[in-house]
């Protein structure tokens, strides 16, 4: 937990030899207000940490009256800042919220915002660092799976906003001559993510999304694919053979190399070709692949 001294150092940029005047320059004023609005312990504590205020303190800078003092006026903005970000993060991490509860989530975000104050114009980015922050948070002692859960939730947000790219469809694959199949190059859709997790938190997320009671997830190594189809974010456990093949395809891969990766996982037995065919059909149906150049000219003309 950051101490007040650390807060003052990390947030302040006022030189020690320049005390603020009653008509502070715009930059100094904005920096002061930022420190006060984001002070973790509140505006009053933030003021106590300020060493450069003019004589008369905040009252010398901001007009207060019998209704609201200068400090109370700044507190309105301090509350607005925290609760606006908190409300957005509650929406972005509903399962994490559901698991740890309101009070713990509130305290989690309070400490999160000290370490990771928002830096992007879009508030949808405010939770970008929360999964990593949770990884070393004391909440993990009670809920050891919570970091994986936050990571999965954050991933769904990023995939939701990801780029639109035309997926490779079954017709386009069928138009490729069999002889050309080994050489065609495939790539996973830029919106596809593969998360290797230690806990079956996908079950927790699904239960919360369905409004069902959630159960403690099994501690089980799992690869979860998160992607978007028909504008909806989806996620599922990857089967044997999928993870290696799709991981290869994330950087573009020859189809033959993807098949080799599947065989390496399922073993060289008579089921491998059937497994490959079934997986390819599944990927095409789920819109998780895109074409990678060069694509056979004959197939392009046919499709």
């Amino acid at each position: 937990m950051m101490t007040r001294a650390r807060m003052a150092e990390s947030n302040g940029s006022v030189p020690a030899d320049r005390q603020m005047g009653v008509a502070p320059d715009l930059k100094s004023l904005q920096e002061l207000l930022y420190r006060l609005i984001t002070a973790a312990e509140g505006v009053e504590e933030g003021l106590a940490a300020e060493r450069m205020l003019p004589e008369g303190g905040l009252d010398a800078i901001i007009v207060g009256d019998e209704r609201l003092s200068a400090r109370e006026r700044v507190e309105i903005y301090a509350n607005a800042y925290f609760y606006r970000v908190l409300d957005v993060l509650k929406e972005d991490f509903p399962a994490t919220l559901g698991v740890v509860g309101e009070t713990n989530f509130h305290n989690l975000i309070t400490s999160y915002l000290i370490e990771y104050p928002p830096t992007e114009p879009g508030i949808q980015h405010a939770g970008r660092h929360l999964p990593g922050f949770v990884r070393t948070h004391p909440l993990r002692e009670r809920w050891p799976f919570i970091a994986d859960l936050a990571r999965l939730e954050r991933c769904t947000i990023e995939v939701f906003h990801g780029p639109d790219v035309e997926p490779l469809g079954a017709a386009a694959m069928r138009a490729v001559a069999p002889d050309d199949w080994p050489g065609i190059r495939l790539r996973t859709h830029p919106n596809l993510r593969i998360l290797e997790l230690d806990w079956r938190v996908d079950m927790v997320l699904r239960a919360v999304a369905d409004g069902e009671p959630w159960k403690e997830p099994a501690r089980e190594r799992v690869a979860i694919m998160v992607w978007r189809r028909d504008l909806k974010v989806q996620y599922r456990e990857l089967e044997r053979g999928e993870c290696a093949a799709l991981t290869l395809a994330q950087n573009g891969a020859a189809f033959a190399a993807m098949c080799d990766a599947i065989v390496a996982e399922v073993g060289e037995d008579e089921d491998a070709p059937a497994q490959i065919s079934r997986l390819v059909g599944r990927w095409l149906g789920e819109d998780v692949l895109v074409r990678e150049k060069p694509w056979p000219a004959r197939a392009d003309a046919a499709s």
Binding site: S13, V22, A23, P24, D25, L26, K27, L29, Q30, E31, L33, Y34, I37, T38, A60, I61, I62, V63, D65, R67, L68, A70, R73, V74, I76, Y77, A80, Y81, R84, V85, P117, P118, T119, E120, P121, G122, I123, Q124, A126, F160, H161, G162, P163, D164, V165, R228, L231
Partner: protein, 292 residues
């Protein structure tokens, strides 16, 4: 720049997520929509699809919250580039943001913090608005924010500040009637004085919204119907400015779309009544709401 450089759009509402389906599928009667720019400054997905489909059938304006025009940080070029790309995609009638600052030291408060009303702030902010307008290749509108802080070293009134910035930047004004009412209560000035002082030829749009009464202060929350006092202030504004494109802004506790439509219809009715012109604001969309 003058108001006649911009089209008169009529009476619109903010496009909100809970109404996406209804607007896209139902195509309800509405003159225009205002979108929050940052919600659509994404790479793709449903937000973009919604925006494109709405834009097929309705005029749209882009209203931002993170331009941070009054900040002493450098202008965010990445943000401006994304803003320009969004404008190219949806061809808004205009682009607006707020006369305030939202970020400093590279950190964003996600709130609209008021500026001191000083000559330093006028020069600084107007200069940045001119840069933004040059980058975007168009005049933008700047909205007056509601505020809870006033600075002792301010040398201008808020309306003098707004007017001075708009004149020096040669930009338009989005006059938020509810914000004037809220700030007038919070800082004890006469809202009517504000309405009477703003340069008429620069006012391109009105916002109308609700707020919360916390006793000692009003909070601009956009989560309630427009209050009667704000409607009266709007009428005063219409008598002064004539028919100006007006938008019902509702961001939280959002009601059914029909309630927003009703508010837009009321805005149009009051516009006609206050201007004494039955054709004032006559438009193809909202005037027929309620007729089936």
């Amino acid at each position: 720049m003058k108001r006649s450089d911009f089209p008169f759009l009529g009476f619109g509402v903010g496009l909100r997520r809970c109404h996406y389906g209804q607007v896209i599928e139902g195509r309800p009667r509405m003159d225009w929509f205002e979108v929050i720019s940052e919600n659509f400054m994404v790479e793709g997905g449903r937000p973009i699809e919604v925006l494109e489909r709405v834009r097929e059938h309705y005029p749209v304006v882009m209203h931002g919250v993170s331009l941070s025009i009054g900040s002493t940080d450098p202008l965010n070029r990445k943000y401006l580039k994304e803003l320009a790309e969004l404008a190219e995609r949806c061809e808004p009638a205009w682009i607006s943001d707020h006369l305030c600052w939202t970020s400093i030291g590279g950190h964003n408060l996600h709130d609209l913090i008021p500026l001191p009303y000083s000559e330093e702030a006028v020069t600084h902010t107007a200069g940045r608005i001119r840069q933004v307008q040059e980058y975007l290749g168009r005049h933008i509108l700047i909205e007056n924010v509601s505020s809870h802080m006033a600075f002792r070293h301010s040398t201008l009134t808020e309306w003098e500040f707004l007017s001075a910035v708009a004149e020096e930047a040669d930009c338009g004004i989005l006059l938020d009637i509810n914000n004037i009412f809220v700030s007038a209560f919070n800082h004890r000035f006469e809202a009517e004085t504000y309405i009477d002082a703003v340069p008429a030829e620069r006012v391109v749009q009105f916002h109308l919204a609700g707020h919360q009464d916390h006793g000692k202060y009003l909070l601009d929350t956009h989560d309630n119907p427009v209050r009667e006092e704000v409607w009266r202030l709007y009428e005063r504004a219409v008598r002064r400015f004539g028919a100006v494109s007006a938008l019902i802004e509702w961001d939280d506790n959002i009601p059914d779309f029909s309630e927003l439509q009703a508010a837009a219809v009321e805005a149009r009715r009051l516009c006609q009544s206050a201007s004494g012109d039955d054709d004032a604001g006559a438009h193809g969309g909202i005037e027929r709401v309620g007729a089936g």
